[in-house]
Symmetry: C2
Subunit: 225 residues, 2 copies
């Protein structure tokens, strides 16, 4: 079965790629260069896609700095640093990028329909950062309906399925799943800050570090702080 995997190079999407392989899929990766602050993550996406020998890997380029609106696409908006984990899940943070997953899933849908794939895997998660509206189950269900009605494949045959293996997992559970599947954490990248080594203080680093620590494991990445 052919599957398109949204691969950012982070911990979650890398685990999802390994899950798709474990599910027996022929994997086609898709990554996005949207001029994000942390474009460095694309190196990780390429390295991981190469390591597992995906059938194909498409990197789609566009520029969300055209209108900005997020700390990830506008350098004038500062990244939150050293925030307590509880605070992260209380409201939609400034790292929210308007309609990002909708754009990502739309391109994945176009690619999947062109190659006649049956599934699209995405590493959305409703628990961490529960503020992100486009990571929640009801949103995914709405996109599934778009997949059914908005394509030739969906109207005439079987719609492409959105598969979300991580949606109800905690970060610690994602790491446990990744360990079982053999995800090479040293190749992944989570930091938002855009440096050459991970900052250790942005929300994304803190969530990741806290989860490794809670499990009594060592994150193999180097951190500035």
């Amino acid at each position: 079965m052919k599957a398109v995997i949204l691969l950012s190079g982070g911990l979650d999407s890398s685990t999802v790629l390994y899950q798709a392989l474990a599910d027996g899929c022929k994997c086609y990766a898709i990554s996005f260069d949207y001029q994000q602050r942390h474009r460095r993550e694309l190196h990780s996406a390429l390295a991981i896609a190469q390591k597992v020998e995906v059938v194909d890997h498409q990197v789609v380029k566009f520029d969300l700095r055209q209108w900005g609106g997020s700390a990830l696409t506008d350098d004038a908006i500062d990244l939150p640093q050293k925030r307590p984990l509880e605070e992260m899940s209380q409201s939609i943070p400034v790292t929210y990028v308007p309609a990002r997953n909708t754009i990502f899933l739309s391109f994945a849908l176009a690619y999947a329909e062109t190659i006649a794939a049956e599934r699209i895997y995405i590493g959305v998660n409703a628990l961490d950062y529960s503020g992100y509206p486009d990571c929640r189950p009801d949103y995914i269900q709405a996109m599934q309906e778009v997949f059914r009605l908005g394509t030739k494949q969906g109207r005439e045959e079987q719609p492409i399925s959105i598969v979300t293996p991580l949606i109800y997992l905690k970060k610690t559970e994602i790491i446990q799943l990744g360990n079982k599947l053999g995800v090479p954490w040293e190749l992944t990248w989570s930091c938002y800050a855009g440096g050459d080594i991970s900052c250790g203080v942005c929300d994304s680093c803190r969530l990741r570090l806290a989860a490794f620590a809670e499990l009594g494991l060592k994150d193999p990445l180097a951190y500035a702080k």
Copy 2:
């Protein structure tokens, strides 16, 4: 009221822009350079946006030739020529671009949320080319649900509305509406073929020419055939 208008430079989207102005909106245009065969249409989009003095005009660039899959994004797939109009509405034609409107609406949604717009206007039409799955009312309704659930604005305030003034109109009725609104047809562009003047034989030219002819009007564009 702020509105984002999807503007290809064609007859339909130009009419929609004029309708949005007539509705009293402050108009923000968005156009797409996706390496379409008929990129020439972007000149028309720019000319029309300039003529009505939109507040802003974003041209989003990406490359759908990366995977092709349509006569509009793959030169190896020939454009249909001189097809009878009845045939065009019987099945999904090779000019169908997988997930195109979903991609377009996703970017429009991102832009609209960033500038806090209340509406997005799109010139979809369910009658001509009724084959296109992503021009039908049930599809638009599904995207509306994505707009509600997939954005901060949709979750916390009023969702951005998708406005489709042409969805139930025939091409002749669209021209009549455009005439009432004063749309400068000479600045618009419909041809798919990618030449410097309109071919007159692709589906898009034929639909347009037939509608002008049916109304006893002359299309001000020059045609090769």
